[in-house]
Each structure stands twice: as C-alpha cells, then as structure tokens.
Amino acid sequence: MNFEHVAGKERGKITLYALSTCIWCKRTRELLTALGVSFDYIYVDLLKGEDRTKAIEQVKHYNPSTSFPTLVIGDKSIVGFREKEIREAIG
C-alpha cells in the first residue's frame, strides 16, 4: 500500500484514510496541510485487490462504520471533518 507523504512539522504519526471524490476528505487534507504537520494519506477508493481489502481492514479497526475521512493521530482516531477536534489533537 502506497501512502502519499506530506512533509511538515513532526507531531507523531498522522494517517488520513480518504476518498478521492469526497469533499470532507479534501477539507481534512487541506486543514492538515495548512497546519503544516507531517502526515500520510491514502485514497481507499483508488486501491484495488489486496491493498483495498487491507486498507478497509485498517479503517475498520479505528472506525467500525468504515466511513471517510478517518484520521488517525497516534492512537486516537477522528471520524469526519471535525476541525476543532483535529486542531486540538494536533496541538
């Protein structure tokens, strides 16, 4: 599975599971970029076969409803574009 890496300030491991067509996912990615933190993201809808199954399993682990965006910050997960929560979690 190839995550796209965005370079920035180190705030621990930040992973964004997103859909390429989803506007809330786009807003989440833009917020992380604006905050200037280092993070990895992946568009699950563009994955195929084993990569897709694996990514879905990972999302399910943090968010049983497998909805997007699912943002994982350390061991905390934030489902949906929740700006206030995201800002607080990143600090």
Binding site: L19, S20, T21, C22, I23, C25, S65, F68
Partner: protein, 174 residues
C-alpha cells in the same frame, strides 16, 4: 470498475449541477447554496458514474456492485432522515430550508448507513408484507425508498416523479 475514463470537464459539471438544482427544486429539496462546494461533489458523482456505472455517493466507499450500492446512489436512502435531523445530507449536497436561509450551518454528520454485515438487503425498508394487506387492493402500493413517494399501480414507475430514483429503488409497501 472502469479505470480508463476521462475526467469530467467543467461544462459537464455545470450541466449536471443545473439539472440537479432544477430537479431538487421541483421535488421540494434544496442544493447547498455554496456552489463551488456542490460542484466539487457533482464532479465526484460524474467520476463515480464513469467508474461504477451509477452515481454512487462521492463521500462513501462504493462496492462496485449496483445491488449492494442501491442505497447510496445519489440521492441516497438516508437523505431525508439526515435532512430532518441535521439539516443536510451526509455529503451536504442537499440542505434543509433553514440551512439554505443561513439560519443553520451544515457540518460533518455521523454515518447513518449500517456497515455491510449489519445491513438489510433493502436498507430503510419498512414495507408491509404483501400478505398482510389489511384490505384487498385493486393494485399494489409502491414506495420510493429515496423520498417516500407512494403510488398505486401494477409496477413501480420507471423513474420516481419526485426524486428521479430508478424503478429498482422502489419497494412494495402494501
């Protein structure tokens, strides 16, 4: 899944946007007044139409199987409940009158759709069993699973006159 499709261009996005706006108004629904936001979603709908063959919700992961995704073809089966409870559908493509007037802000809302394992074959289905009909009807009553439109006729309409959902998204209600 078709991966070799051309990206929708601006005029295709504008065309579908205009159509959805017109159809929403005709049916008593409203698109989000943030036009650029809506056009982003419309682009996603066009991409999904080319990718899967149907306009799957751009904010949900489609299964690439129309039967499994019938509930999340836009407008989805969850739109009306989300509009009533949160003032917007899951994507915020459709909004309530209060949001339209600026009395309320649309925001990110929880997913109402059940994960696949817990989902009924027809989510949102509340139709009575045809055997349980209290009176003998001359024709069955069909219910649109997207907007709740009811009609009495031999077969459901090809297209819902209110929300434009296809025939396959009707259930027998009585």
């Amino acid at each position: 899944m078709n991966e070799n499709f051309s990206e929708p261009n601006d005029s295709e996005v504008d065309e579908l946007y205009a159509r959805l706006d017109r159809e929403a108004k005709q049916g008593g629904y409203f698109l989000n007044p943030d036009v650029e936001f809506v056009k982003g979603l419309v682009r996603g709908l066009l991409i999904n139409e080319r990718r899967y063959g149907y306009r799957a919700c751009p904010c949900r992961l489609a299964a690439d199987d129309k039967q499994q995704d019938l509930d999340i073809i836009c407008p989805c089966y969850y739109r009306d409940a989300d509009l009533s409870e949160f003032g917007a559908c899951y994507c915020a493509l459709y909004v309530s009158a209060a949001v339209l007037k600026g009395e309320k802000e649309p925001s990110c809302i929880p997913e109402r759709r059940q994960p696949f394992m817990g989902r009924a074959a027809k989510p949102g289905s509340s139709g009575a069993s045809p055997d349980a009909a209290p009176v003998k009807l001359s024709v069955p009553v069909w219910r649109c699973l997207v907007c709740g439109y009811l009609c009495g006729r031999e077969r459901p309409p090809e297209v819902c006159p209110i929300c434009k959902a296809g025939r396959e998204r009707f259930e027998r209600f009585i």
